[in-house]
C-alpha cells in the first residue's frame, strides 16, 4: 500500500510539474471589429489567432506561450481607440498590432508616445510611417503596387481612367499613376468617389471610351464598378488593386477578365500557403484571404524574430532595426535596416472563372 501511495505521489508530482506554465508573452491588437471595416478586422484577427495557436502548439516562443489581447474598436472612434489602447497596456504587451489605415493612424499617436512598437496591417495610408520611430507597416503601399498594376498593360495606354475611393490610398494610387503616365503619352482621367457613393453606372459611362481603367476602392465598391463596366459592355482593359483578389470580388462573374496585382498566396502552386490555407478553411469554414494571411504571417515573423532571443521590447526593436529577410506565406519579404515599410511581393494576374490566374 505504501508503495502504491509513493508511485501515485510520484506520478501526480510529475503531472503537476508538466502542467507548469511559463509567463505568457502578450501582444495587443487594436482591430476594427465593429463598423464598416469589421470584415478586415475579423479576418486579420482570425489569421493571427491561427498563427498564435500554431506557435503555442510548438511550445510558444522560447518556451513562453503567446497570448493575444484583442480590443474591439470602430474605425473612426478616437476615444474608443484610446480607451482600447490603454486597456491593453494593463497586461504590458510586447507590441501592438493594428489594422486598417484609420485605426492605425490613431493608435500610432499613443504608441509613439510610449515608445511601443506598432505593426500596422492592411494599412495603406502613405503618412503612416513618416516621421515615426517605432511604427512599421506590413502591407504594400501605392508606390509598390502601382508598378505591378502598370505591368499588366501590354503597352502604354493612350487613355486611362482612374476610378478611385477618395481616401489616402486612392489618392496615392492616382498620384503614382499620374507620375508614371505623363500627359504627353497618356490622357489620364481621375474619377474620385466617396465611401458612400453608389452611382457607378454614371462613372462607367465616363470611362466607356477609354483604353484602360484602373479601379481602386473597397471590395464592395469594386464589385459595383465591375458590374457597371460590364453593363455598359466596356471593351478596354480593367485593372484593379489587391483588394480585387478577395474572394468576395473574384466570386462575381463581372470580375472575369480584370487584371490585378495579386499576392502569391492565391497561387495554388505556392506551397508556403498550403498549410495555412487548409487550416484556415478547416477552422473557420470560410475561404482565406490576404487580410487573414497578413495577420498570420506577422505572428510568424514576430515569433521568428524573437526565436532564441531575449523577450523584450528592446530586443525586438533591435532585431527590427537591423533589418531582415523572411520567407513567409507571401513569399520573401524584407525590411531594410532602419526602415519601416514591409511590402509583400505582388505579381500580375488575371481573374478568370472566379480564380486568380498568374500571368
Amino acid at each position: 500500500m505504501q508503495l502504491l501511495k509513493m508511485t501515485l505521489g510520484f506520478v501526480f508530482g510529475l503531472l503537476l510539474i508538466s502542467c507548469g506554465q511559463s509567463d505568457p508573452i502578450y501582444i495587443g491588437a487594436v482591430l476594427p471589429l465593429k463598423g464598416p471595416a469589421k470584415f478586415v478586422g475579423e479576418e486579420v484577427r482570425d489569421g493571427m489567432q491561427l498563427a498564435v495557436d500554431e506557435v503555442n502548439q510548438k511550445g510558444g516562443i522560447n518556451g513562453r506561450p503567446l497570448v493575444m489581447l484583442y480590443s474591439e474598436v470602430a474605425s473612426q472612434d478616437q476615444d474608443g481607440i484610446k480607451a482600447a489602447y490603454d486597456s491593453l497596456l494593463e497586461k504590458d504587451p510586447l507590441l501592438i498590432i493594428s489594422a486598417t489605415s484609420s485605426v492605425s493612424l490613431m493608435v500610432k499617436n499613443h504608441t509613439e508616445k510610449a515608445n511601443m512598437p506598432l505593426f500596422a496591417l492592411v494599412a495603406t495610408a502613405p503618412d503612416l510611417t513618416i516621421n515615426t520611430q517605432r511604427v512599421y507597416r506590413y502591407w504594400p503601399t501605392a508606390e509598390s503596387e502601382v508598378p505591378q498594376l502598370a505591368g499588366v498593360f501590354p503597352s502604354t495606354p493612350r487613355t486611362l481612367g482612374i476610378i478611385y475611393l477618395d481616401d489616402g490610398y486612392g489618392q496615392a494610387v492616382y498620384g503614382n499613376m499620374v507620375s508614371r503616365y505623363p500627359a504627353a503619352t497618356t490622357e489620364l482621367v481621375g474619377i474620385p468617389f466617396d465611401i458612400a457613393f453608389k452611382d457607378f453606372e454614371k462613372i462607367a459611362q465616363q470611362v466607356k471610351e477609354m483604353e484602360a481603367v484602373v479601379a481602386v476602392g473597397f471590395d464592395s465598391h469594386l464589385r459595383k464598378i465591375f458590374k457597371a463596366l460590364k453593363q455598359i459592355d466596356y471593351k478596354g482593359t480593367v485593372v484593379s488593386t489587391t483588394t480585387a483578389t478577395l474572394p468576395s470580388v473574384t466570386g462575381i462573374t463581372e470580375s472575369d477578365g480584370v487584371y490585378v496585382a495579386s499576392p502569391a498566396i492565391y497561387n495554388n502552386n505556392f506551397l508556403f500557403i498550403e498549410k495555412f490555407r487548409k487550416e484556415y478553411n478547416s477552422r473557420y469554414n470560410k475561404p482565406f484571404n490576404h487580410y487573414a494571411a497578413n495577420g498570420y504571417d506577422l505572428i510568424g515573423l514576430i515569433a521568428g524574430l524573437l526565436h532564441d532571443q531575449e523577450i523584450s521590447v528592446a530586443s525586438l526593436q533591435q532585431q527590427i532595426d537591423r533589418g531582415f529577410i523572411y520567407s513567409g506565406v507571401f513569399g520573401n519579404i524584407n525590411l531594410d535596416a532602419n526602415s519601416f515599410d514591409i511590402d509583400f511581393p505582388l505579381y500580375p494576374a488575371k481573374i478568370e472563372d472566379g480564380r486568380i490566374v498568374f500571368l
Binding site: 508511485t7 511550445g59 522560447n62 513562453r64 521568428g304 532564441d308 531582415f324 529577410i325 523572411y326
Partner: protein
Amino acid sequence: MKAFFRLTRIQSKLIILLILAMLSFAATFIYVLNASIGTLKQEKSKEILAAGSIMMTQIEQRLINHTDRLASIGKRQVIIDTLHGLHNDPDVAQDAIENHSDFSVLNQRLQREIRIIEQAIAGIQIFQNIILTDRQGHIVAAAEHRLGKSAKLNDWWLPTVENSRLITESEDGSGISLSVRINDAQGSFIGIIQAILPTHWLTRDLAATFQLRPSSEVRLTNAKGRLIYSSRPYRYLEDAESETYFQLFLNGDSQMLVEEGGKKKLYVLSDNFHTAQLNDLQWLLFIADDLDLILKDIYRLMRQMLYVFLIFSIGFAILAIVVNRTILRPILELRKKVAEVADGDFDQKLELRNKDEIGDLAAAFNRMAERLKTTYKKLEYEANTDDLTGVANRRHFFKLAERQWNNYQRYKRPLSMLMLDIDHFKRINDKYGHETGDTVLREAAQLIQRNCRSTDIFGRIGGEEFALLMVETDRDASRQFAVRVCKQLADTELMVIQDKKINITISIGVAHAKPQEDSLDAFISRADDALYLAKKRGRNQVREFIEA
C-alpha cells in the same frame, strides 16, 4: 539471494518479488524506449540528410538554370558577332579600349541587346550587372565605370576560361556570380559573360526549394559561417559562425542536438558534395527538426506505457492485498494457532471465512484441534486417574500435592494432609475374592470423594491406602472431616454380595503443614506416622500427628 531466502516472512518475500517485477518492467520499458529513441534519431537524421541532399540538388538545378539562361544570352548571334569581330580584328578592340567613347557606344548597344535577350528568355529581368569580356579579359559591356578594364584579375574570370562555367558568391556580397565561357561556332574561346544573380532572386529560389520541407528549420551558410538563407527572419551574409549549430561543421559531425528557443532540436548537416556545380560555393545546409516532433510517437508510446505501468502497479497492489488477505493472513493465523496447539492449548479455533482451499485447511485444523483436545483429555485422564477407583492415581496426586505444597511455601495458608487406609482389607480379599475387594476399594473411594470439596486433592497412593490434601483447611476442620468420614464409612453398608452387606472401617492419620517444614515428603511422612498410630491404637479411628 541468500538474504532473500533467509527472510522469515512470506509477506516480505512477496513485496520484494512485486517490487522486483515492477522494477524489471520499468527497466525493460526504459531500455526499449532508449533504444527506440536512439534508432529514431538515427533514422530521422538519415531522412533529413536525404532531404538535404535532394534540396541541395534542387538548388544546384535552379542555379544551373540561371546559368543556362546566361549561356543562352552569350550564344546569341549579336554577342558572338561582336566578340568575334573583336577577336578577328584586334586593332578594333585596341581602338575601342583606347577610345572610350567608341567602346561606350558598343557597350550601350550590347547592354540594350542583352536586356532584350534576357527579357525574351526569362520574361523578366533576373540578372544584375551583366558583364561581357573578350578573350583577353577586356570588359566590353558593363556598367560605364568598368568599361575597358580587365576582368582577368577577378576571381571568376580564369576559372571560367578553364571550366566553361562557374558559380560563386559575388565578391561584393550582392548575390551569386554566374559566369559562362563563350565559344564561337568552331569552339574557339572568344569571351566570357558574367552576371550577378541578386539576393532577392537567390532567396526566392532557396525559399522555393525549402518550402518542400516546411516543418523543418533551415539554415544555409557558406563555409565561412555566413548566412545565405534561413527559414526564420535573417540578414544575408550575417555571421553564423558563433551559432551552436555551426559547430556541426567545425567538429566534423553530421548531427547534433541543439537547444534553441527553449526547445531541443536535432540538427543535421548536409553539404554540397554531390552537387558538383556548387562546389565552389562550399555551402552548408543545416536542417533542424523539433526533437519533440521527431519523438512524438515515442512520447505517445511512453504515455501509453506509463498508463500500462500504472495499471500494472495498481493491479500488483490489488493482487498483493488480495493475496495477503486470502492466503497470507490465514496462513499466518494458522501458523499462530498451530503453535498454540503445539504448546498444549487445544481450545484454539480458526474462523471459517472462505470456502476455498484455505477455508478447507482452516476447517481441517479446527477438526484436528478438536480431536487432539479430546484425545489429550482422554490420555490425561488415563494418565492421572486410578483405573479401579476413578480418583487421582499416586503420580497425579503427588504432582498436584507438589503444586499445593509450593503455594503453601509461598502464602503459608493452612494445609492439611490425611492418609487413609482401609482396615483389614486383606481379609476382604481373602474372604470374598479380589473382585469384591476391588469393589470395596471403589465404593470406599467414592464415598470419601463425595465428602471432599472441589479444592481438595484426593488420590489412591497404594493398594488400600488413600491420601487427601485439604487446602485452606486448618487443624480443626481437617480433624472434623476425618472423624466424619471415618464414622460415615463405618456406618455405611458398602455393597451386597450374595445377598450380604459388607461393612468396612478406615484408619486416618492427619498432619498439618508447618512453616518450618522443608519438604512435602516430610509433611506426608508425618501424616503416615499418624496413620500408623491410628492402626496401632486399634484402627477405625483418626489420629493426629503430634510433635514429640
